[in-house]
């Protein structure tokens, strides 16, 4: 039932959106924290623009309405799990209605660094009900393609250590205290997120990309696949 035509709504139609007006393409890059999504998004953007496409890139918590509020709430470490899920859902809806849909109407390629799937996976990892959050996010548009950069937890740990050099409170799920310290909590929390994303793969028609490959290899794989959408 979830394998719907691109740009249909999953389960809840948004008022005032005529699907036939949407001329653009909606492409989603999904995957856990530190998997290398943003690198790919910026390379894809440059490539697509070089090909002559107008591109909008967007990502979680970047919206005009709720982006700032979310980042302030996270600084205070005060967010309960349901509150966090709904705050992100608010931001997503704002970006969908005020950025993504207008861009699709104008014929843009919308390249989004994460979509409802990370939002749902984080909620599920925190023990919230899958059916609940799936219906809450049901007003999302079905993308033309969803690329899931899949990695094992140990690879994410390596990337965090070699990259930023420290574990992040939220990326470690420390709000839920999944482990005694940031490392242990990160390992358990990210494993839960990955499991939740894995379980969505078939249901939502993810294209799985092995994130253990080099960034160049991944980029070429994405390019080949995206080229077929035009």
């Amino acid at each position: 039932m979830l394998h719907k035509q691109p740009l249909a709504f999953y389960s809840e139609a948004l008022a005032g959106v005529d699907k036939d007006e949407l001329q653009g393409k909606l492409i989603v890059i999904e995957g856990p924290d530190s998997v290398g999504r943003s690198t790919q998004v910026s390379r894809l953007r440059a490539w697509l623009e070089h090909e002559g496409h107008a591109v909008l890139d967007t990502g979680l918590a970047r919206g005009a309405l709720a982006g700032k509020g979310i980042s302030q709430a996270k600084d205070g470490n005060l967010l309960g799990p349901i509150t966090m899920t709904l705050f992100y859902a608010t931001d997503f809806a704002d970006r969908l209605e005020n950025e993504i849909i207008p861009a699709l109407r104008a014929g843009f390629v919308v390249l989004t660094d994460r979509y409802i799937f990370s939002l749902m996976a984080r909620a599920i990892a925190r023990g919230e009900d899958r059916a609940w959050i799936e219906r809450v996010a049901g007003f999302a548009l079905v993308p033309h393609a969803i690329y899931y950069l899949r990695a094992e937890v140990r690879d994410l740990v390596t990337r965090v250590v070699l990259g930023r050099g420290s574990f992040d409170h939220w990326e470690s799920g420390m709000d839920m205290r999944f482990g005694a310290d940031m490392h242990d909590s990160f390992v358990r929390y990210q494993a839960r997120v990955i499991r939740a994303l894995d379980r969505m793969a078939k249901r939502y028609n993810f294209v799985i990309v092995d994130a253990a490959k080099t960034p160049d290899q991944i980029f070429k794989e994405l390019q080949r696949s995206i080229a077929k959408l035009f």
């Binding site: 309405l65 509020g69 005060l78 009900d129």
Partner: protein, 243 residues
């Protein structure tokens, strides 16, 4: 699909609902004073009052950025924050929490704004089911008379101006509140409201509320609920003054 989660805490949850001008806040305040006079620990929670979300709501309202879906979601976020950080912990401690508006406000208002009944009911599925939910039924004209007599300006979203029902604020408010009233009326059975005739005198309404509270929660109010001795009250007030 179950509507709301049963309350499995020691404390109890009492909510009031109704359109603007139905007098529900006055009644809830009288009820809570009555409960306090019996040394029952009472806490209040108001709709749309979470400090976490306040800035975002303000930004959205000021710049008219809301759509029906984001309006609904930001109120659910506000509600979730109050529930997770305030209402549930207090009920765990055994308090009686009095809520001025609850999820039912969203069931009525957000549906009028254009989200589906099914979607908004699912959205609030995490909410704790109140032990008592009072609905203050009042004819539209009576409520409007109270509102227009009592203050100067109706705000943009309060009047439902985002729905473009009318360019006249008062007219828009009238249509908007009328539709909310219809939604409330339609959910009485579904959510199990205790209907209070809000055209009666303040005293009559309060008497009715107290009778229902005694009838429905009497046993719990005698046992189980957190009660304070006069010594506890004095100590708590002294501590609050120090802070």
């Amino acid at each position: 699909m179950p509507l709301l989660v049963p309350n499995r805490y020691r404390g109890k949850l009492i909510v009031v609902e109704g359109i603007d001008g139905s007098g529900k806040s006055t009644q809830l305040s009288l009820l809570s004073q009555w409960l306090r006079s019996q040394r029952i620990a009472v806490s209040f929670s108001e709709w749309n009052s979470s400090p976490l979300v306040r800035e975002t709501t303000r930004r959205g309202k000021k710049k008219n950025m809301f759509t029906p879906v984001t309006f609904s979601l930001i109120h659910a976020t506000d509600f979730a924050d109050r529930l997770e950080r305030y209402i549930i912990p207090l009920m765990k401690a055994g308090a009686v929490v009095c809520a001025d508006r609850y999820a039912y406000t969203a069931f009525a208002r957000d549906v009028v704004r254009g989200v589906s009944r099914k979607w908004v009911r699912n959205l609030y599925r995490f909410a704790v089911r109140p032990n008592l939910a009072f609905y203050f039924r009042v004819p539209l004209e009576v409520a409007i008379g109270r509102i227009l007599g009592g203050r100067n300006a109706i705000k943009y979203y309060e009047a439902g101006m985002d729905l473009e029902l009318s360019r006249n604020v008062e007219e828009s408010f009238r249509i908007f509140q009328g539709r909310i009233l219809d939604e409330y009326e339609a959910m009485i059975q579904e959510v199990g409201f205790h209907v209070i005739d809000a055209t009666g005198s303040i005293e009559e309404q309060q008497q009715q509320m107290r009778e229902i509270v005694i009838e429905q929660l009497g046993e719990n109010l005698r046992n189980g609920i957190l009660r304070a001795s006069q010594g506890d009250i004095d100590a708590a007030q002294a501590a609050a003054r120090v802070l």
